[in-house]
């Protein structure tokens, strides 16, 4: 179904939503596109990203940490599985 199937799931992403300011670098730089802009709004009025794995099991986080490195707001935590 998805080409992402060829990757192994390595990590999960936690979003510290109150720190997010909605620049969406994470969404843009994720090589497997597992982050997407969410509908919800935080206290400051920004839409934090949501981790799609929770919604769609075909997308996979490969644990590259790029989202974390690009996040200017320290709002992303990538946690490796195991």
């Amino acid at each position: 179904m998805s080409q992402n199937k060829k990757f192994k799931r390595k990590a999960t992403v936690k979003v510290l939503e109150e720190r997010c300011k909605g620049c969406w670098y994470c969404v843009n730089y994720c090589p497997t596109k597992v982050l997407q802009v969410s509908e919800k709004m935080n206290a400051k009025g920004y839409h934090p990203p949501v981790f799609k794995e929770n919604i769609d099991e075909n997308v996979v986080c490969i644990g590259c940490h790029l989202c974390e490195l690009y996040c200017p707001d320290f709002a992303i935590v990538v946690e490796e599985l195991e």
């Binding site: 720190r19 300011k21 670098y25 490195l69 690009y70 707001d73 320290f74 935590v77």
Partner: protein, 278 residues
Amino acid sequence: MSQMTDMRKMEEEWLRTERLPHVWCPGCGIGIVLNAFLRAVIRRNIPKEKMVVVSGIGCTGRTAGYVNVDSFHTTHGRAIPFAVGIKFARPDLNVVVFSGDGDLFAIGGNHFVNAARRNHDLLIIAVNNFTYGMTGGQHGPTTPTGAYTTTTPYGNPDRPFNIPHLAISLGAPYVARWTTYHVNQLQNSIYKALNMKGFRVIEIISQCPTVYGRRNSMRSPMSMMEYFQKNSVINNKASYEEMELTYNGKIVVGEFRNVGGIPSYEERYEEIIRRAQE
């Protein structure tokens, strides 16, 4: 847990998390630089009480307020001499100056030039966003010729500093330039510089979408990042001419100078004390 996950955990300890979210605008590159900096410091295993961060005034100057180490938000342009005082008094500390381009090169230009000449043992993280962010986007000493700012409504007639050229001409032993797009190279560069002595200068081309980008057809954070991505060329052996930055032109990045063995001011003064007490 992997090293990367551990590092992310430690990063929280190095931040004054009670002060987050920070003051910077959505997509401002300063946070990316701070992120890379903290990771490099953590990788170096520098104890927190051995690290001091000094900033001047400006958006970048606010950095000192977020790092959970001895940290000083000084006056506009004076971060370098303030740091000189700390380092000279306590040579065992790692003293880092983290500030903006206007702070370091316009109002603080004289200090930069002379501190580099004396080769103080300082790491200078110079965030170049082409403008005075804090005061609303006036042109500064790094604004490319032709760029639009609130004080160059017809385009900038000034010529910007070529910061790596300037630093190299002053004998700085480590000189590099990256953009916020180069998160890994930047982190590695800081990591490397942290282990060196003398006046080390890392210029980071950074996006200020709010007051610079929007006047120069890069309104969104991503459009500035795309500009950096598309226009950057890595060339460690670049000539001084190639290092020059032009309006919407190529951005030559790389590690332009890396030489060891030049004694720092602090080291040379040890010899002075020895002679005085002979």
